[in-house]
C-alpha cells in the first residue's frame, strides 16, 4: 500500500511537469495549428540559462523569474524570426523547421555548456516528509506547477488579453475583424509557452540532471499528455499530463516487463491508442456548431 501511494505521489509530481509541457505544446498548437517539436529543447536551453545564472552566484529565487523572463523573450523572438516568415506554408515545411530548431538549439546548448551531465540544485532541500513518502522537491514541484496552472487559468478566463488570445486562436479572421492584433497574440502565445517550458525544465532538472538531451523523453510524455487530453483543450492537456505521470509510474512498478526501461514506449503506445480510438482526445471534442 505504501508503495502504491508513493508511486502515485511520484507520478503526480512528474505528471505536473508533463502537464506543463503538454500545456506549452497545446498553446502553440492552438495559435498556429502545428506541433512544436522543439518545445523540449527550448525548455532545456532555458534550464541551462538558469544553471549559468546560478553559477554566476545569483540566488535561486532571483534566477527563476529572470529565466522565465529570458525564455519569454526568447520564445517571442523565435516566433518573429523563424515561424512568422513561414506564414501559411504547408505542414511539411513547418515540421522541417521545427526539427531544424530542435537540432540547432540542442547543438547550441552542447556547444556553449558541453554535453557532460551537470547536477542541478533543488531550492526545496534534500529531505522528505511523511516518513519518506514524498521528497521536499516533489512537494515543491507539485506546488509550483499548481501555482503556474492556476495563474494561467485566471489569465485566460478573466483578462482581456487572455480572451483576445482565445478568440484569435479559435477564429483568426473574425479576431482581426474585431480589431485583435492576431500577430501579437501568436507571439505572446510563443512567449508564454517558452516561459511555461522553462519552469518545467528547472523543476525536472534536479531529478534527471542537466544535459542537452534531458527533455527528450519529457517532451514525449508531454505530447502523450496533450494527445490524451485533447490538443484542442488546454485543461484536457493538463489532465493528460498528470495522468501520463501516474500511468507511467504505476506501469513501471507493477508491470514487471515494463520496469524502468519500457516506460517511454508506454507513452508512445498511449499516443497511438488515443489517435486510433479517440483522435480528439478525452476532452478535445470537436466544437458543437449549429448552422
Amino acid at each position: 500500500m505504501e508503495l502504491l501511494i508513493q508511486q502515485l505521489v511520484t507520478g503526480i509530481a512528474t505528471g505536473g511537469i508533463y502537464a506543463c509541457m503538454a500545456l506549452a505544446v497545446v498553446m502553440i498548437y492552438q495559435a498556429i495549428h502545428h506541433l512544436n517539436f522543439s518545445q523540449g529543447e527550448m525548455a532545456m536551453f532555458s534550464t541551462f540559462v538558469a544553471w549559468q545564472l546560478l553559477q554566476w552566484g545569483l540566488p535561486y529565487w532571483a534566477v527563476l523569474p529572470l529565466t522565465v523572463a529570458v525564455s519569454f523573450a526568447g520564445g517571442m523572438a523565435i516566433e518573429r524570426l523563424v515561424i512568422r516568415p513561414l506564414g501559411q506554408a504547408p505542414i511539411l515545411s513547418h515540421i522541417a523547421v521545427f526539427i531544424g530548431l530542435f537540432a540547432v538549439i540542442n547543438s547550441l546548448a552542447g556547444f556553449i555548456w558541453d554535453f557532460t551531465i551537470k547536477p542541478f540544485p533543488s531550492p526545496f532541500g534534500e529531505g522528505s516528509q511523511l516518513g519518506g513518502l514524498i521528497s521536499n522537491h516533489q512537494i515543491g514541484m507539485i506546488g509550483v506547477t499548481l501555482v503556474v496552472l492556476l495563474f494561467l487559468y485566471l489569465f485566460f478566463r478573466y483578462t482581456r488579453i487572455g480572451l483576445a488570445m482565445r478568440a484569435a486562436a479559435e477564429n483568426p479572421a473574425s479576431a482581426r475583424l474585431v480589431g485583435i492584433r492576431v500577430g501579437r497574440t501568436v507571439a505572446l502565445g510563443w512567449g508564454m509557452a517558452a516561459a511555461i517550458g522553462s519552469i518545467a525544465g528547472i523543476l525536472i532538472a534536479p531529478l534527471v540532471f542537466l544535459e542537452p538531451n534531458m527533455m527528450l523523453s519529457i517532451l514525449l510524455y508531454g505530447f502523450a499528455g496533450a494527445v490524451l487530453g485533447g490538443l484542442s483543450s488546454p485543461a484536457g492537456a493538463v489532465f493528460g499530463g498528470f495522468a501520463i505521470g501516474v500511468i507511467e509510474n504505476l506501469a513501471g512498478t507493477y508491470i514487471p516487463v515494463v520496469g524502468d526501461e519500457l516506460k517511454l514506449p508506454i507513452a508512445l503506445l498511449l499516443i497511438v491508442t488515443v489517435l486510433v480510438f479517440k483522435p480528439t482526445g478525452l476532452f478535445g471534442r470537436p466544437v458543437v456548431q449549429r448552422v
Partner: protein
C-alpha cells in the same frame, strides 16, 4: 456634408481572378446604404476589400483619410465594424465573451460593461443565453450576436454581409426592424449587402446595383425600387 465613406475606382481580385472592376460609391453620415446584386456580383468582395481582407487597389476614403491597403485590425480601430458572411461567431466562447471580443479595439474599458447591457437591451434573447457556448445558438441568435458584437465597437460605420441569410422570414423581419432602430438611435451608418433586394430596399435610403464587378445603377432606394429593369430582374414583380 462630405460622405462618411467615399470609394473610388475600387479593384479587387482573388489571385489572377479579377472580381471588382473599378467601383465608385459613397456612404453618407448615418442612414442606410445597400449594395444589391446577384450571386457572385462582387458584393461580399466589396465589403472584404473595404476591411483590407483581400488585395485591392483604388481609393477608400473614410472620414477624410485614405484607408486602402491598411491592415484589417487597424481599419476596425477607426470605427468600421464588419458583420461578416457566415457571422464569424467565436463558437467555443460564450455569447457574452463574443460580445466582449467586439470591444477589443476600444480603449475606454470602463464603458464596456454598460455597453454589454445596451446590446442586451436590443437583443434580450442574448442575455438569456449569455453563458451558453456561442456555437450552440440558433442561426438567428448567432446573427444577433454578430450584430451585437459589431455594436460593441461603438462603430461609426457598420458593414453587414447578408444579414438575412439562412434565417426564417419572421426572424429576418424582426432583425431588420432592430437594425433600423439601431442605425437611427446609435447614429451608426449601415452598409448592407443583400440578395433579398426587396427587404434591403425597404430599409435603405440609398442603393447601388452591382453586376459582375461593375456598378450599373445608383440612386435613392425609392428610385431603384421603381425602376422597371430592377423590378424585373431582382424584385420579381
Amino acid at each position: 456634408m462630405s460622405p462618411l465613406l467615399q470609394v473610388s475606382d475600387l479593384h479587387a481580385s482573388y489571385g489572377d481572378f479579377r472580381v471588382l472592376h473599378g467601383l465608385d460609391f459613397a456612404v453618407g453620415q448615418g442612414g442606410v446604404t445597400t449594395l444589391l446584386g446577384a450571386n457572385g456580383a462582387g458584393k461580399t468582395t466589396t465589403l472584404r476589400a473595404l476591411c483590407g481582407m483581400i488585395r485591392h487597389s483604388g481609393r477608400i476614403v473614410f472620414e477624410g483619410a485614405d484607408i486602402a491597403g491598411r491592415p484589417t485590425e487597424e481599419i476596425v480601430r477607426l470605427g468600421i465594424a464588419h458583420v461578416p458572411e457566415g457571422r464569424g461567431t467565436f463558437t467555443g466562447l460564450t455569447a457574452e465573451e463574443n460580445l466582449l471580443c467586439g470591444a477589443m479595439a476600444r480603449s475606454d474599458r470602463g464603458a464596456i460593461a454598460a455597453d454589454v447591457e445596451r446590446v442586451y437591451g436590443w437583443f434580450p434573447r442574448l442575455k438569456e443565453r449569455r453563458r451558453q457556448q456561442a456555437g450552440t445558438l440558433s442561426g438567428g441568435e448567432q446573427q444577433m450576436l454578430a450584430i451585437g458584437r459589431a455594436l460593441m465597437l461603438r462603430p461609426k460605420l457598420m458593414l453587414l454581409d447578408e444579414p438575412s441569410f439562412g434565417l426564417a422570414p419572421l426572424i429576418v423581419a424582426e432583425l431588420f426592424e432592430i437594425l433600423r432602430k439601431v442605425g437611427e438611435e446609435e447614429g451608426v451608418a449601415l452598409l448592407i449587402v443583400e440578395q433579398n433586394a426587396a427587404l434591403a430596399l425597404e430599409l435603405a435610403d440609398r442603393a447601388y446595383l452591382i453586376e459582375t464587378g461593375c456598378m450599373v445603377m445608383s440612386g435613392s432606394a425609392a428610385e431603384i425600387r421603381d425602376d422597371e429593369s430592377v423590378r424585373a430582374a431582382y424584385l420579381g414583380y
